[in-house]
Point group: C2
Chain length 178, copies 2
């Protein structure tokens, strides 16, 4: 019973997202903005391709977490992209879900209660190594908390922070998987 | 782990369906068939509305079953519509999922291995009673099997077959919920 409820809810959220974009297309067709329509469709195809790629990295926990994150009420809005050819990253699923969840929860607790907060996650597998880029834009209220967390989470078994930069309205973090 | 895999798979199917329709829109925009584009969008909105209504009938097992049916490889293709205002039909969820599953499995086993088989399910809650219409079009190889099943499944506790008609290429079945 629980599981079927989940299917219905999951498809409700997914349908909602697609319908919003469909309304955008519809509105622009009515205004005869065909160039804008083409752009919107391009963006939708891109997003779907990233989603498909994320789904194929064999990181089921991380993929499910990221793909459904914006459906719940949060301060931070998450976007992601996957650059390069799909690889089997299954050995990183457990460590990356824990690490990413912890970072995102930290951000949720460190940003200003109001304001637009965006986190862009770029998964780069174009080279032989695997790198995750976390680019945050928004208003950070508690920068010290983040810097402390980065210090403490820099030496996980499979995860190494290779770059870290923080300002009041920006944070970037580069992570290499070992 | 299992659950997250399901989320990823579920969203893969859903994305696939939406992308197919998006391709149709894209193709028709390129051909400058704007009237066709508008029609396609209308159809997509209608389908999404039926899906939303089905999701709100509090028939979670039946809704999940119908919404995901075409994602697996089957001989019969299912479409559905919900006519009327949404009501709480939760007391029928268990009996309707069992009954409907049994009917659809029967159809799968009674149709010709080749050919296009369509089952349209119309849930009509416009009046005080609740009625399900099952309209099948395709090639039925084993009509006797179906007639026998209808005889045997006509007197469930909550379900009454109020109309039944069968030809080689068509079957219609009307069910009233008590």
């Amino acid at each position: 019973m629980k599981k079927q409820l989940d299917i219905v809810e999951l498809l409700r959220h997914s349908r909602h997202d697609w319908l919003n974009k469909l309304q955008l297309i519809k509105g622009n067709i009515e205004l005869d903005n065909l160039d804008r329509v083409k752009e919107i469709i391009e963006e939708m195809v891109f997003e779907a391709e990233y989603e498909a790629k994320l789904s194929n990295l064999k990181l089921p926990s991380l993929a499910a977490y990221l793909m459904t994150y914006n459906w719940e009420s949060h301060k931070v809005f998450i976007e992601y992209e996957v650059l390069g050819e799909v690889q089997d990253l299954s050995k990183y699923d457990r460590s990356m879900i824990n690490w990413t969840k912890s970072l995102i929860e930290l951000l949720e607790n460190s940003v200003h209660p109001n304001g637009n907060h965006h986190l862009n996650i770029s998964i780069d597998i174009r080279n032989n190594d695997v790198r995750f880029f976390f680019d945050f834009r928004g208003i950070i209220s508690e920068a010290d908390k983040i810097t402390l967390w980065v210090k403490n989470n820099n030496s996980e078994e499979q995860i190494s922070i290779t770059d870290y930069d923080l300002h009041t309205t920006e944070m970037s973090l580069e992570v290499s998987l070992l």
